[in-house]
């Protein structure tokens, strides 16, 4: 926990290339992530950042996917604990909103988190918190267990949807294309879209997230697990 891999001697020379370590690699990755996005968090780029060759990193990190998962685990630590006030529903929504907003700051990471779920301590704490809140709300255990999965998946997916906006400029165009397609739809072939085009595209992102979380919680609460 408190181990400091840095050599403590303070030479006054050039930064004096610090020894490699998993922590150092993850820290460098976080820096590049914040500065230039996940697409630049590559083995080669990190090696360059740490003044070594890409092969050296493989001593500490199995591959690129594992590196990305480690970065997410690190960021998960910045999401605070559950608030103390409010009903269990409100607190549940707040925890999930905080998680989603963290991911929204790094949508490309959310995208990768969907595939490579983190399994670090911070993620476990989050699951524990969610289970506790659902239990407090009297949601049966089996429903709560599957519900946690549903809630985390939605939060992650919602954030992942915004990836590419930061990564590639094309994704935004793709989204605009859907909006245009919805608006231009013929009323004879797609009457329901025509009638709902406004609503389909309406709503601030915060309002939609809040509504979605409430709908999920309501659904989880009311839907029994089979068997």
């Amino acid at each position: 926990m408190t181990a400091r891999p840095d050599t403590p001697r303070s030479r006054r020379e050039r930064p004096a290339k610090p020894a490699l370590s998993r922590e150092g690699i993850v820290a460098a990755a976080l820096g590049v992530l914040r500065a230039e996005g996940l697409r630049k968090v590559t083995m080669r780029r990190l090696a360059q950042e740490l003044d070594t060759g890409p092969a050296s990193l493989y001593v500490y990190v199995r591959n690129t996917d594992e590196l990305h998962a480690a970065v997410l685990d690190e960021l998960l630590g910045t999401v605070g604990p559950a608030p103390a006030e409010g009903s269990w529903r409100e607190r549940l929504e707040q925890v999930l909103t905080a998680y989603t907003e963290m991911l929204l700051a790094h949508p490309s990471l959310a995208r990768s988190a969907l595939t490579a779920r983190p399994s670090g301590p911070h993620y476990l704490n989050l699951i524990e918190t969610l289970l506790a809140l659902l239990d407090e709300g009297g949601v049966p255990r089996a429903q709560a267990a599957w519900g946690v999965d549903l809630l985390l998946q939605h939060a992650t997916a919602m954030a992942a949807e915004h990836a590419g906006q930061d990564d590639s400029p094309t994704a935004q165009q793709e989204w605009d294309a859907l909006g245009a397609a919805l608006r231009d739809t013929s009323g004879t072939t797609h009457p329901h879209i025509r009638a709902s085009a406004g609503e389909l595209l309406a709503g601030a992102h915060e309002a939609r997230l809040s509504w979605a979380l409430q709908a999920l919680i309501n659904g989880i609460e009311r839907t029994a697990v089979p068997g």
Copy 2:
């Protein structure tokens, strides 16, 4: 619609390199996708497949993301229309299950669909179908509109979660790591996880999908849109 870009003359020589076309490129992409996964659906590989240079493809396709979106749009056509029998809930669940299962056959594509939403005719038809079923169920229009988004997102995210399994062998290990972490959790620090570990990991994939869709529908039905 019925335009055939192929030159009709039937030379008996070698396959006689057919003229390039967007359709031909998408078709080749589908072939590579099915045979080797999305990771191999690259401009260079497709160019090789079509016996030309990568630069030639840029006449028909803006970039790799757009190519992937076009492939998904194509696959969306293979999902049949809504069934005629059953309650609106059952039919809604069936349509979404069919959509999810199509995506599950190509999880890496689902992953990319989360970011670059398709906007082709097949996608619009799907939205129309979902809106019609929710309307039939008496779900208010505003709720239905946001609900469709939620339903499609869940289906896509659920499939996307399985990406990497086909793509990279590491993803499976990552998922196993989460399972192990959940099982090994201490009962003192994470009592709810300890009590629910079995339930968190239980359930066949079909049962979980079915439950999730029902929970979503129940939640959408009962949660009013603000304002």
